[in-house]
């Protein structure tokens, strides 16, 4: 890098976290920071890369512009030939879709992104949608493998431990939900009770997120005194 000037070095270091402290120190001594972008722009840059994806219907879409911007969304990762957590999550999200009714596709959008874009072509995803009788409003997506991987990591569907992160059988059953315009983002376990998931998603409606009626009730699934629900415990 003989031609690298100081400005360029600082720019490079800014994306190299090992030395980012070095840059910041210089900035601080001048007591100047870059003019802040809006927090919404920052979130977009950090978490929602605007990659081109293809839907199970073969349509080309931009992840941020077309799928996330201004919407309430539910996002998970899966792949067609998955024998682990994908199927229970898909089946559970079907219940969620049914409970949300006509809102799905109107103001709430569900997205499942493949972890195996090499084999999950739009056609394969379309067959999956048909086989599981998934209704409109829930879109399955594929794309360039390296971009899907970046997207997955940006959205938080990854494991901090590199070895676990590479292990597809260990991929997360967590599901991201949020309201892009309001900058609200959280996650729920994809295998949680469907009515509970529906409550979580409905908090994203905006306006007043108030105490839900259901939370004020005592739904007693197993409340009979003396009732033990038995299950195998794996000690040690």
């Amino acid at each position: 890098m003989p031609d690298m000037n100081r400005r360029k070095l600082l720019a490079t270091l800014a994306v190299a976290p090992l030395a980012a402290g070095v840059v910041g120190r210089a900035a601080t001594s001048d007591n100047k920071f870059k003019v802040a972008e809006s927090s919404r722009e920052k979130l977009q840059k950090r978490y929602f890369p605007n990659f081109e994806l293809t839907t199970h219907e073969g349509k080309k879409v931009r992840f941020y512009d077309d799928l996330v911007k201004d919407k309430i969304v539910v996002i998970n990762f899966m792949y067609v030939k998955c024998e682990g957590v994908c199927m229970p999550v898909t089946m559970n999200l079907k219940k969620v879709q049914n409970l949300l009714g006509r809102r799905v596709g109107r103001d709430i959008f569900m997205y499942s992104i493949t972890l195996k874009p090499e084999e999950d072509t739009p056609r394969a995803l379309s067959r999956y949608v048909q086989a599981h009788k998934i209704k409109p409003g829930w879109t399955f997506l594929t794309g360039k493998p390296e971009e899907i991987n970046t997207l997955r990591r940006s959205l938080g569907f990854k494991d901090a431990k590199a070895k676990l992160d590479k292990d597809l059988t260990n991929h997360t059953g967590m599901v991201k939900y949020g309201n892009e315009a309001r900058e609200w983002w959280a996650m729920f376990p994809g295998e949680a009770n469907a009515p509970w998931i529906v409550e979580c998603i409905q908090w994203m409606d905006g306006g007043n997120a108030e105490t839900t009626g259901a939370a004020g009730q005592n739904k007693t699934k197993r409340n009979e005194p003396g009732h033990n629900h038995s299950k195998v415990r794996n000690k040690g």
Partner: protein, 612 residues
């Protein structure tokens, strides 16, 4: 041995990176002045020991990082101690002490037993003890945005506050004087990138009726308010020890914080937390009476520890929304300021230490300038006074939400002496600490004590005389033993293999009975587990009698990898819903929680303990 080789690999990589960075600096032809300005070179011309420049410096900045650690703070592993926030000069500002909450003469409309839904109250259930323990003091608190400085070299931050400060105002309460806090949600529409304008304020460690406890799903939205009735009453008052309760259940250092389900980490990181202190006829706040603990507020000081990240480009407080494991900050704050200093007189102080999160475990030392340890006394665990003070020279562990009241004696120091509160526990990701203890001076310096020369008197009790506080309450026979295994299934937290649902009552505790619970940790993770309502006694940790410090009344259990901890409770006086959850707030927000209810029937769910 595996550990050693891993550390060697890490060190090799460090050396390589350092060399690469040096080459880049040479290639960029930075002038000597540039480098001094950038903090890379000392005036004597040596390269400073900075992460990535000198391999030896890896532990000196903000901790360390392991092989598996990602390095971008917004990329899931939360900073890992690599400095990515803008640098800040340490110890330039005094540590703030949060203001004491002031009462209001009356509230309008007047508080009611039933929720005043028509007037905008968000409560859903009647007060249980409003008429039996009527409030004698009233407070009004507004949760609102406030621009505050966390360091003079960083821009003002848009924080969410209780009445305008971070930490929020400190409630100073007395046993026997119930209070009522009217809690308004005046949060703004624009959250600035994280946080939900829907809140539930939990009084952590309070013997509080469920409807005032701040259950995660008792949240209320903008423009609403919520009356929280804090009876300030000892456990047992309506059961085993009528009419005033068991003095051995006295609590001292409580804190309050947002507990909104799925959004607790974001809302608390943004500032929604503060202290709540409880005094009585023994713990009086006056060092000439009762237990003669250092006088409040001059020598009895709350300290909330947090670690946070700031955007390297614009210096704005940053929360990683893609992190599922636990956020580690590279800036260390006490009472809302990055690395403040605090002037102390040559006498004893009571410090109420709180690990305010979001995720990091600490092991706190007092490091003298010659890098030896200054011993100090632990007098309370999780805000509950121990039977006797316990001296420590080997550091004090604190998981998120744990409180440790300590007595530090500065009388042996000359004026001008410098002592640091230093965390020496190595942690490189949200999963938990490595359990390596860093060398003195190589850890995270949280705060700098500066000993001043003012003449002082000290009437406080000398912990070395072994004063007696409260005995641990005697136990009664438990009604049931329940067992809980904390695990992770495809990234989803499970407790006894089940997922969280606010509406799912996992088990029911029969009011005014005792129970024993066994908590089991899973592989690879450490969790500070918090159980609401009644503090517990630790009976056994991995089959062993716990340490003198842990043999206390607690409400947070540090559950290391594969730990097995046995605890005893007595659930008295009130009924309603309460949670058990991980207080690594990132785990908590990813549903590492369950709900249990206290009622007059109870059930025997979750009692399959395998080996019994």
């Amino acid at each position: 041995m595996a550990n050693i080789s891993k550390r060697n690999r890490r060190r090799e990589r460090e050396i390589k990176n350092a060399a690469k960075n040096r080459r880049e600096i040479i290639a960029a032809r930075l002038t000597r002045r540039d480098m001094i300005k950038a903090g890379l070179l000392t005036s004597a011309g040596y390269l400073i020991q900075k992460n990535g420049l000198s391999a030896r410096a890896q532990f000196s900045g903000g901790g360390s990082f392991g092989d598996d650690c990602d390095r971008r703070w917004w990329d899931g592993s939360g900073g890992n101690g690599t400095p990515v926030s803008p640098p800040t000069t340490p110890f330039v500002e005094p540590m703030p002490i949060p203001p004491i909450a002031q009462t209001v003469p009356a509230l309008s409309p007047a508080p009611t037993v039933a929720p005043n839904t028509g007037a905008g109250e968000g409560r859903t259930r009647n007060h249980q003890a409003f008429t039996t323990l009527p409030p004698v003091k009233f407070y009004e608190v507004h949760q609102r945005e406030q621009l505050l400085s966390m360091h003079p070299e960083l821009p003002l931050q848009r924080l969410w506050t209780f009445n305008g400060t971070v930490p929020g105002q400190t409630y100073v309460s007395q046993y026997g004087q119930p209070i009522l806090v009217r809690n308004f949600n005046d949060l703004p529409n624009d959250n600035g990138g994280f946080g939900l304008q829907s809140v539930s304020t939990h009084l952590h460690n309070g013997h509080t009726p469920s409807e005032s406890d701040g259950f995660p799903c008792d949240f209320f939205g903008q423009t609403k308010w919520y009356d929280q009735h804090y009876p300030n009453v000892l456990a047992g008052f309506a059961s085993s020890h009528p009419p005033t309760g068991d003095i051995r259940e006295s609590m001292s250092t409580l804190w309050y914080h947002d507990h909104r389900v799925d959004f607790t980490a974001q809302n608390v990181y943004k500032g929604l937390a503060g202290f709540y202190l409880l005094f009585n006829q023994f713990d009086t706040g006056d060092e000439t009476t009762g237990f003669r603990l250092p006088s409040f507020p001059n020598f009895d000081i709350p300290m909330m520890f947090n670690d946070k990240n700031f955007d390297p480009d614009d210096g704005v407080l940053a929360f990683d929304l893609a992190n599922r494991d636990g956020i580690l900050g590279d800036k260390f704050l006490v009472n809302g300021k990055i690395q403040p200093f605090f002037e102390v007189k040559r006498r004893r102080y009571r410090f109420r230490w709180l690990n305010g999160g979001p995720s990091r475990f600490y092991r706190m030392y007092l490091t003298k300038s010659n890098l030896t340890n200054h011993p100090f006394w632990v007098i309370a665990n999780d805000g509950n006074l121990l039977p006797n003070p316990v001296q420590t020279t080997t550091g004090l562990m604190m998981g998120v939400a744990e409180r440790m009241d300590v007595i530090v004696d500065f009388s042996s120091f000359a004026a001008g002496s410098i002592i640091h509160i230093e965390n020496r526990l190595e942690q490189c990701d949200g999963a938990g600490p490595t359990n390596n203890i860093l060398a003195a001076g190589q850890g995270n310096k949280m705060l700098q004590f500066r000993v001043v020369s003012d003449p002082v008197t000290d009437n406080s009790v000398d912990p070395a005389t072994n004063p007696t506080f409260y005995q641990v309450p005697t136990r009664v026979t438990e009604r049931i033993r329940r067992c809980f295994e904390f695990d992770r299934r495809n990234g989803q937290w499970v407790i006894n293999d089940e997922l969280f649902d606010c509406n799912d009552v996992r088990f029911r505790v029969k009011r005014n009975t005792a129970e024993i619970w066994e908590l089991n940790g899973g592989f690879n993770w450490s969790h500070p587990i918090h159980i609401h309502f009644e503090e517990h006694q630790v009976l056994k940790r991995n089959g062993q009698t716990p340490t003198l410090i842990e043999r206390a009344r607690k409400d947070v259990i540090r559950l290391g990898e594969n730990d097995d901890v046995e605890i005893y409770f007595r659930f008295r006086d009130f009924v309603g819903r309460y949670p058990m959850h991980c207080h690594n707030t990132i785990h908590e927000d990813h549903a590492m929680m369950l709900r249990f209810d206290i009622d007059d029937v109870g059930n025997n769910n979750e009692n399959d303990c395998g080996h019994h």
